[in-house]
């Protein structure tokens, strides 16, 4: 399964969800999969998508907050797993699309090839779901509706052959419409 396919399955089940997407191909893929006002495309500040989502999750306890993260991204801010695991936001669903590489910069390897990210998240008191097929993803997405977070979906994806288009919305506009849509 490639990342776009996984995103399509998730966005299909959670059509109106609030999503914070990591920079690089992840935001580009989300932009091409389901563009909407409740997407916050974080186009810079690599590593911080889960931190931004945590801030929202604390302030909006009644809403489910999704993070679309990557292995390279979370490895840049591993401390975030510890903070989220300590604060235990029940409404946070942390999705890591794990391709074991920095795909946006040319496919250089990350260390998620040797270290299992789900073990780190488990030690940080997340609920863990490891996923490597479309059918298990579909099943688990139903399952997490009843589960309290923080939840990690670690989805194994393979390298995409095609690049999604760049997010072409002005960042200030991304912010403006996102604030309007979630408050």
């Amino acid at each position: 399964m490639i990342r776009r396919e996984a995103m399509e399955i998730i966005c299909n089940q959670y059509k109106k969800s609030i999503i914070i997407s990591a920079n690089g191909f992840i935001s580009r893929d989300l932009f091409s999969t389901l563009e909407k006002n409740t997407n916050f495309y974080m186009i810079g500040s690599m590593g911080l998508a889960s931190s931004i989502a945590l801030g929202i999750a604390i302030k909006k306890p009644g809403k489910k907050i999704f993070v679309f993260d990557g292995d390279g991204n979370i490895l840049m801010n591993l401390g975030s797993l510890v903070t989220i695991g300590s604060l235990q936001p029940k409404n946070l669903v942390h999705i890591i699309f794990d391709n074991k590489m920095h795909e946006s910069t040319g496919g250089q390897p990350t260390y998620s090839e040797t270290i299992d990210l789900s073990k780190i998240a488990k030690a940080s008191n997340y609920k863990i779901f490891k996923i490597n097929s479309k059918s298990s993803l579909t099943k688990i997405l139903v399952n997490i509706k009843q589960n309290a977070g923080p939840i990690l979906l670690l989805i194994q994806v393979s390298k995409s052959k095609e690049k999604s288009l760049r997010v072409d919305i002005d960042p200030v506009e991304i912010k403006r419409r996102f604030i309007k849509a979630i408050n």
């Binding site: 810079g44 590593g47 801030g55 302030k59 912010k175």
Partner: protein, 162 residues
């Protein structure tokens, strides 16, 4: 800044506007942070960029936030300030401890203490220095800026040696 003023800065900002105080501890503003803990209003992050990320999420939820850090952490955060806070115009209030303000501060603070004013200028991050005398005025100034969607910084000088 003396203990009393630091505690007053906290209560003043909280009473006036700020709902969240997120950051990485700095001994220069020890009493400010202590006052926040007393009021159960402090969230500690592991790194300064993480604090900025969390505060951004809070501000996007319409809950005003301050991020506190030492200037070493401010240096860590340059890219996050340019590519998140400034790029998206997130109205964030920074409180930065100025190590290396005194010439004979510890050696690891010397260089960053020297270049801090220029760094703030290069970023275009408007800032003012808090003192025991002026803090109310400068807090008001900072709050009026973030209410107009402008990120700004308040600086506390390390004016003692230990």
């Amino acid at each position: 800044m003396n203990e009393k003023s630091q505690r007053q800065v906290f209560t003043y900002l909280q009473k006036k506007y700020i709902e969240n105080f997120v950051g990485v501890p700095d001994s220069t503003m020890k009493f400010f942070i202590e006052e926040g803990f007393k009021r159960k209003a402090i969230l500690i992050a592991n790194r300064e960029e993480e604090a900025i990320g969390i505060a951004t999420g809070m501000i996007l939820s319409k809950s005003p936030a301050l991020v506190f850090m030492q200037n070493a952490g401010f240096a860590n955060s340059l890219s996050t300030i340019t590519s998140l806070v400034e790029l998206y115009q997130i109205p964030m209030l920074f409180l930065i401890g100025w190590r290396g303000f005194l010439k004979n501060d510890a050696p690891e603070h010397e260089k960053i203490g020297q270049i801090q004013p220029e760094l703030l200028d290069s970023l275009g991050l408007e800032n003012r220095i808090l003192t025991d005398k002026n803090f109310k005025n400068n807090c008001d100034w900072a709050l009026s800026k973030i209410k107009k969607n402008k990120p700004v910084a308040l600086i506390i000088r390390r004016d003692f040696l230990d």
